[in-house]
Structure formats: structure tokens, C-alpha cells
């Protein structure tokens, strides 16, 4: 009896908070507004900007990387960080490509390659949670090792995979209707992880752990296990991204993904993830990636020099994070 009474009251209380206010409080809203403003400005500045071809190109540009952003965001929320994402993604291509060239079925080769990347994540998870080293150092070392392994396995040259069967290439190059398969995969991954992160008890433990690891341990959460799993997940998603890239390019490129970690971390942080752990969202991180991609595309369309583009992207990161820092301070 008492239960139902309370339920009714809480429901009411929830409705009392106006939707508008809640929207304003969500950090994603600000990002969406900035992106929309950019879209409007750019569509005036360049007639080409709002064409289907350009929008599609912009989306393709961050879609695969977006899968890595998902892994990185979850890891950041749990309090970790991974610098090795770029080289692990490249290694995924190289392993799968090498296996394929050695006569293994491309699907099996891809599966094995993703497994190998997962194992790399578990390896890093072991060093961070069992030995107690910092994520930064461990992943820095693995970043270098994985890149070395890529170059070693390929002799430094891209592996041309001309005989990949069309149904495999379909992952990276095909479309269902007007929509590229890559984008479909990306959207599915993002929605799935965004939902799980918001709703499941499993991922709630990631927030608890990142927010205050000791308090989480004092709440019975096996925090080492949580961090181990988020570390592993991030590398596994790099493996998946590597396979999609391979299908898209029809080759395995040992030098692919240099500097990817910076883009990916920037996207997650612009989207509200904290390097101290405990906060962040997939949706926000993807918006961060969208923002960076739209800016790049705009600058290219406006014929801004490539060198300037990096300077501008870096400045955007700094501005976004500074603004966010002050907004958060006010909120508290």
C-alpha cells in the first residue's frame, strides 16, 4: 500500500520537472546547437555543404572511428584511458589481412583478429588492474609495440587484398538502399552502447567505479574486474573497427590510425567524458566526433590550409572543455 502511494508521488514529481529545463541541463543540447549553427552557416557559405554526397562523406569519415570512440568513452568513464587505439586498429587490419593472404577464410580471419585485439586489451587490463600500473603508461607501451608488430608483419608496406570476396567487401563498401553499411553498423553500435550505458546495471557499475573507485569497492563492486573489462572492451572495438576499415579499403595498412587516439579522446571529452572518470555519454561523445568532422569538412570546403585545420581543431577542443569546466562548476 505504502509502496504504491510513494510510486504515484514520485511519478508526479518527475513530471513536475519541465522537459525544457531538463533538456537545457543535458550537456548534449549545447553540442547539438553548435553543430546546427555550423550547418546553417556552412550551407550559406558553400552550396555543396548540405548535399547528400557531402553529408554522406562526413558521416563516413567518422563512422568507423566512432566505434572506437564508443570503446574509449566507456573506458574513460571507468577511469582509464587508452593511447593504443590507433595502432591496435591497424594491427587488427594487418592480422586479418595476413591470415587472409595465407589462405584463411576472411570471416574466420576477421574473427581471429578481433580475438587477438581483445587479448591485447586483456593484456593491458592485467597490467593496469593486477600489477597496478597506470593506463597511460601501459597503453603507451602497447601503442608502440602494436605499431611495431604491424610494420614487422607487413615489412612496412600495405597488404593489397585484391581477392577479398565481394560479400566481405560489402561490409565496408556496400549500401542498403541509399545508406552505406558502415553507417548502419555504426548507428547500431552507438544506439546499443548508449542504451546499455544508460540503462543496464552492468554499465552502471562502470560509472560507480569511475566516479569514486574506493566508494565503489565499499559498495561491494569488484572494481578491478570492471576496469579490466572496460579496457578489454575498448581494444575489442578497435579490432572490429580495423576489420571494417580493411573491408572498406580492400587492403591492410600498417601505418593506419596514426594520431587516432587524440581524435578519439578529443571527441569523448568534447562530448562530456571526464578524464577523471565517472562521467560521459556515448551520445555526447559521438556528437563530439560529429563536431570535429563537420569542422574539418567545413574548413576543407572553405579552402583553409590543412595546417590551419589542426590548429583550429585543437583550439576547439580547448574551448569546449574550458566552457564545460565552468558550466560544471556553476552546477555544483
Amino acid at each position: 500500500m505504502d509502496n504504491t502511494l510513494n510510486m504515484a508521488e514520485t511519478k508526479q514529481a518527475e513530471h513536475a520537472a519541465p522537459l525544457f529545463k531538463r533538456l537545457i541541463r543535458m550537456r548534449e543540447t549545447g553540442l547539438i546547437l553548435i553543430i546546427l549553427a555550423l550547418f546553417v552557416t556552412m550551407s550559406f557559405a558553400s552550396p555543396y555543404f548540405l548535399t547528400w554526397v557531402n553529408v554522406r562523406a562526413m558521416t563516413m569519415a567518422f563512422a568507423v572511428e566512432g566505434i572506437v570512440v564508443v570503446g574509449m568513452t566507456v573506458l574513460l568513464i571507468s577511469g582509464g584511458i587508452d593511447l593504443s587505439v590507433g595502432s591496435v586498429t591497424a594491427l587488427s587490419m594487418v592480422i586479418a589481412g595476413w591470415l587472409f593472404l595465407n589462405g584463411i577464410d576472411p570471416w574466420v580471419a576477421s574473427g581471429l583478429s578481433i580475438l587477438a585485439c581483445t587479448a591485447i586489451g586483456a593484456f593491458m587490463g592485467f597490467f593496469t588492474t593486477r600489477i597496478g600500473l597506470h593506463h597511460f603508461i601501459v597503453s603507451l607501451a602497447v601503442m608502440v609495440i602494436a605499431r611495431g608488430a604491424c610494420l614487422l608483419g607487413t615489412g612496412g608496406r600495405p597488404l593489397g587484398l585484391y581477392t577479398l570476396p565481394p560479400e566481405f567487401k560489402f561490409i565496408g563498401q556496400g549500401s542498403i538502399g541509399p545508406i552505406p553499411v558502415v553507417i548502419i553498423i555504426f548507428v547500431v553500435v552507438v544506439i546499443a552502447f548508449d542504451f546499455m550505458l544508460r540503462r543496464t546495471t552492468m554499465f552502471r557499475k562502470v560509472f560507480y567505479t569511475g566516479s569514486n573507485e574506493k566508494a565503489a569497492a565499499y559498495s561491494g563492486i569488484r572494481t578491478k574486474k570492471v576496469v579490466f573489462l572496460t579496457t578489454t572492451l575498448c581494444s575489442a572495438l578497435c579490432g572490429v573497427a580495423g576489420i571494417i576499415y580493411m573491408a572498406r579499403f580492400g587492403s591492410a595498412q600498417p601505418t593506419f590510425g596514426l594520431g587516432m587516439e587524440l581524435n578519439v579522446i578529443a571527441a569523448a571529452v568534447i562530448g562530456g567524458a571526464s578524464l577523471n572518470g565517472g562521467s560521459g555519454s556515448i551520445f555526447g561523445a559521438i556528437l563530439g566526433a560529429v563536431l570535429l568532422s563537420v569542422v574539418s569538412s567545413s574548413l576543407a570546403l572553405l579552402d583553409v590550409s590543412v595546417y590551419w585545420q589542426d590548429i583550429i581543431r585543437g583550439s576547439i577542443l580547448l574551448t569546449a572543455v574550458t566552457i564545460d569546466h565552468y558550466l560544471n562548476k556553476k552546477r555544483r
Partner: protein
Amino acid sequence: MTDDVILEISDLSKSFGPVRALRGVNFELRRGEIHALAGENGAGKSTLMNIIDGILQPDSGEIRLDGKPVRIASPAAAQTMGIGFVHQEIALCPDVSVAENIFMATTNASRALLMDYHSLTQRAHDVFAKLSDIDPSVLVRDLSISNQQLVEIAKALTLDCRVLILDEPTAALTETEAQVLFGIMRQLADRGISIIYISHRMVEIFDNCDRVSVFRDGRHVTTEIVADITPGDVVNAMVGRDLGDIYPEKQPLSEQSEQEVLRVVDLNETHRFHDVSFCLKQGEILGFAGLIGAGRSEIAKGVCALEGTVTGEVWLNGERLRLRDYQDSINAGMVYLSEDRKGDGVFLDMSIAANIAALKPEQVANRIGLIQADQEETQAAILGRKLNLKCASLGDPVSALSGGNQQKVALAKMLSVNPRLIFLDEPTRGVDVGAKVEIHRILRSLANEGVGIIVISSELPELLGVCDRVLVIHEGRIRGEVSGADMTENKIMHLASGTVPGVAATPHPAV
């Protein structure tokens, strides 16, 4: 010890908002004496010391150094006047050498471009020659805790101090290490340095100090020559306050149940506690008393498998528990409320509702593990009402709440799993008086509902007011048990400071 007074304090007062920490305190320190300060937590000792060291400024009153009135504006000013303060926590840089640590202030003030390591080490040698054989070139990290304490003292001495304040320096020391420290204190006193020694341990005060001043409730109660009085007199002067009836009624004798909630048999952990056996009956509130570092929290965490590896038996409601980790303990219905609320009790940046759900998020989720926001809110609303939690919205971060309400969130988190036993470590630390009374009443009503309650507290009045029975822990062992008329601050203080030979807890036959 001579009779000339080096430091004289008269009619000193200090308030923090409505709290009057010092009320017209008088104190005098003579040249070359070791002067003990005794008093319970909150009696005003630290406030007084912080004023002498220039960390705090008094509201009124006078401080005289060598007979001249002075104003001590900052710790740096205190240093130039020859006042050194060795804090309870060691604050050294672990990765640089002993010599560099000792001369940190000098180096900071120096205008030289390069470090002169040779002379630094040489000077450090000179300082230590009188103290101990610590090599000034080793890293602080590689020293034992007691030697680190000595480095802190050496650091204070290099500033040519005449007054040295030591705040519970033996809290982290072994008996032998403490004896070495006492020897050094006496040497210093013989050289004419005056030492103010803060300690809770009567034995130390009576073995090593010349005079003792007792504080209670922000007032200076008495100053005596140690040789003229007994530890009992000091304890009596420290306690003896009217508890009033702010505490809930205790369990009537007639209602005492024979049914056991918890039985712990021979719990041991190397280095931390030994041969701990006790039991908790239904409806009763049990207290753990003891000095900080005596092992009270460690025992609670050991029972819950939260920290360390313990041997021994834990029985909950007649069932032997075999816990692999704290998760198992929660599942069995045994939870631990942490003493460090901000550090490990709550998730400050997460919502109140999410905090309350943290022990078992599965409870507010559906079968496939999706958290139902409305269930989460309902759970928080029900528990919040039960504990009279005051907040604008359950979606607010915990950091928006007052200390008392934060503590209620932490307590609601414990209650969310319908526990059968709760360990509460310092349940009212940093909580205002109103919330404190509320929390005490909640504990009593939980006990009446049959939930086992064990309270760990450094505040004796709280233990006396809330608990039906108190176990006193001293150096990792249960030194005694008090209940009923026997339960007095005096008795507990004696047991906790080790001034009376231990009385074994009522032995419980093995099950």
C-alpha cells in the same frame, strides 16, 4: 624544568560560527618542560595549538612570548618566533633526501641558483648527531615511519625552535620506536626546549611528561604536576559532562533477546587484530570503543571481508558465513558504513537515487538487467522518507547536500539491501546536532526491528548514549566489555588507553 615561563596564554577565545571552540582559555608553558595536553576529541586542544602555530587567529585573549605580548600571524611567523609544530600526519616529500626535506624552508628562502648538496648534507648530519643515526642522504621513502617522524622533528629543530608542539606523534609508532622518541624528547627538554605533547595515551603522559593540562568542551579544566596526580584524576577531569536525554531510550533489560544476530569467533589478522570473539544479540546495539588506530574499523572490515585476509569464524543468524569478498557479505545481509564519507562513502558527483542504489543496482532493474528509473526513484523516495532526508530532487548530485543529509544518503544505501547487520563507522562524524539525534533514533528503531547494529565511534558520549553494550579495543585486541551501570566514560577510557590490565570479554562458548 625551570620556573621561567616562556609562553603564556590568557583568556583566549575562538568561535567557528555558532561553535565555541575555546572559551577563555589560560595556559602557560615553562622553559624545558614537557607539558602534556589531554582532552577528548573536540575539547579544543587542536584549536589552541593551531592558534599558537599561527594557523588560526584568536577572537580575543592574549599570547605572551617571553613576557611580551605577540601576534602570531602565520606559521611562518611562528617559525621566526621559534615555535615548531610537528603535525600528526607526516608531511614530507617521500622522493627527495632527508637533508633536502629538513632544509626545505631554507632552500625555499635562499636566493642561490644552484643547490649546495654537500653543505646541505653536512648540516643535516649536525642536526642528527644529537638525535639519531639517520643518514641524511637517503630518501625519506626508505625510512620507517618512526624515523620519518624524527625527520619531521629535526625539521622543526633546524628552525631554532624553543617551543616544539608534538601532536600525537606516537599514533603510528611501535612501542620501541615510541621509547626512542621519548628519549629524544627528554634530551631536547634538557637543552631548554619546551615541548607541548598531545596524546590520548595516559601511560605516555605519566611516564614522560612533567605537567599535564586538561581541556574539556573548549575550557581549560586544570593543570597539574604529573607526579602529584593519577591517570584516574586526568580521565575524570576529561569527562564528566551531562549527556542529557538527547539519546533514544535503551533496550529494557526485560526485552533482552537470547537470539544471536552475529557471532564472531577467533577472528585474526596478522598485524592488525588478534583473537577477536564477540556476539551481538537481537535488538541490541553494540559499540566498539578504542583509540584511533586501535583496530576498530579493521575488525569491522575484516568481518565483512572488505579488507585484508582474516582467519576465524563469522556466524550470521546461526549460519556460518564463508565470504570471498564484500559482495558476498552484502548478499548475506552484512554491510559496512564507512567512516570517511566523502572519501569512500558516497559518489559525490552522482545523483542521490543512483547513490542509494549502488549496493545492489539489480534491485531496481528488470530481469534482463535494465535499470528502471522510476523504481530507482521510488526506492530512494521510500528510504529518503524513512530517514527524513531533505533534498530538492532525488536527481541532484550528493555534493549538493549538507553533511548530515549526505550521511543519510550513505545510510539509505546501506538500508537499500534490507541488511540483517550494519557496521556504522563514526556514523555522526561531521554531522550537525539535529541530524545526529535523528540518526541515533533511526539506529534504535532499526535495532527494534531486529537489524543488528554495531557502532564504532571515537565520541564516548555517543557510545554511552546509543549503545547497550560496548566492547573496548586496545591495540587490536578486545580489552574489555562494559554494559549497564558499568558503562562509564571513565571505565572505557581506562580500558582504551591501556591503564588497567585487560579484562577479557565475557567468554562465549564455541558454537
